[in-house]
Symmetry: C2
Subunit: 216 residues, 2 copies
DNA sequence: ACGATTCAACCAAACGGTTAAACCAAATGG
DNA sequence: CCATTTGGTTTAACCGTTTGGTTGAATCGT
């Protein structure tokens, strides 16, 4: 679907946000030029200002949208799942799929964290809180049921989110490394989005499971 | 120690790199201005060009230095430690301490990953490879000895590095969240650098340990 | 025809980079 | 013992380009 064709099914504003998401992911806020944003969206610069606003407004819209979408999908998946282990698996699987398939999501989040959340509107922080809350609740209830052992829930969150964001954003570096050093090329470095999610889920569940399966 | 006082014990070039590390961590490559770099180092802009080179050269020097230092310390700690579990603990502890205490390290690494390693010189990638190699070796040998179970070693690396980089860079957002929502303030979100390392080490070891402690 | 939208051209400010002159401690030499 | 030179280093002022943002006219859909 070309940018021009998109305009027939998508509002101009959304076309702009789609293009902006990719550009901000690739170059960051300061690295992306407003002229580039307009060109990537197939739109005149003044149109961008008319439709959305200045560069910062575009960025805020992009980051709020990506965080809301991610939190929505992850929280919905957790709510649907039956059983605490299944909820954890779904949490991880959806986060992995979302950050892995929408390729701009992970770099944008990583950059935002790196900058101390300087451009994060409060609404975006609340979305992150929603995800953390869903995980914490599952961990707490699973612990109460004897399935999980007591753990620092925030740190478990860091493990899940950190590993998946890093893995998703990592890909160009892994590729480059494999090309430059084909002799140490390792297929285990190139899992698909879903495989990566499953692998992390296995590790996380092993980390939090109560090894004493018959609590007295 | 003021920037002026530093110049008596440190070369001008190193003073510049110290200031540049913090500024690049805070604002990223494109976000940091050459005028700011010079001002932060307490040095004239032309001095910066004379001592190191253009903006890109400063950045390359910064990133190579931080990655080399990190890899050196982490690999040395692993080499010194006795036993596979101890090696894993040291690996994580040193990485946590390094990224947590040198506060610019984590944001710089995260940003570089987010940008696909576009500015990573080959030498910097090799430093990352050194760390991954040290971990992989420990995991493989620990598995052969029956202490660890078979795991995707690269993904374990992602978990360790991802969680600690995220946690270290996260701090401003956590702070802000705690201030805006004091009612849900949670002390478990504010572990010290060393505590964070220990917590992650416990989780990782639980994840990779062979639960069948008496292999037949 | 009319408001909504898009456009090319434009602008001031900010930016990365350069330059010629000034500075300063250590060597030189009378 | 002091004046002068020398080489590395620092400086303020400057330059051409790029940047985010604006504007009035043209175009489009209805």
């Amino acid at each position: 679907m070309t940018a021009a064709a998109k305009q027939h099914t998508e509002s101009t504003a959304e076309t702009i946000l789609d293009a902006a998401s990719e550009l901000f992911a690739e170059k960051g806020y300061e690295g992306a030029r407003v002229d580039e944003l307009a060109k990537a969206a197939g739109v005149n610069k003044a149109t961008l200002y008319y439709q959305i606003g200045d560069k910062e407004a575009v960025y805020h819209a992009v980051i709020t949208r990506v965080l809301t979408r991610t939190a929505d999908e992850v929280c919905a998946a957790v709510a649907e799942a039956q059983g605490y282990e299944e909820k954890i698996r779904h949490y991880i699987a959806l986060f992995a799929r979302h950050t892995g398939n929408m390729r701009y999501a992970a770099p944008i989040m990583l950059r935002e964290v790196a900058s101390g959340g300087r451009n994060l509107p409060e609404s975006a922080i609340q979305q992150m809180g929603r995800m953390l809350g869903a995980l914490s609740e599952t961990l707490s209830e699973g612990e109460r049921s004897g399935l999980f052992r007591p753990v620092n829930e925030f740190m478990v969150h860091m493990m899940i989110v950190g590993s998946l964001l890093l893995y998703a954003s990592n890909e160009p570096i892994r590729r480059r490394n494999a090309e430059n050093n084909p002799e140490i090329y390792d297929a285990s470095h190139f899992l698909s989005t879903d495989e990566a999610g499953e692998t992390i889920a296995d590790l996380v569940l092993a980390a939090i499971s109560n090894t004493n399966n018959n609590p007295n």
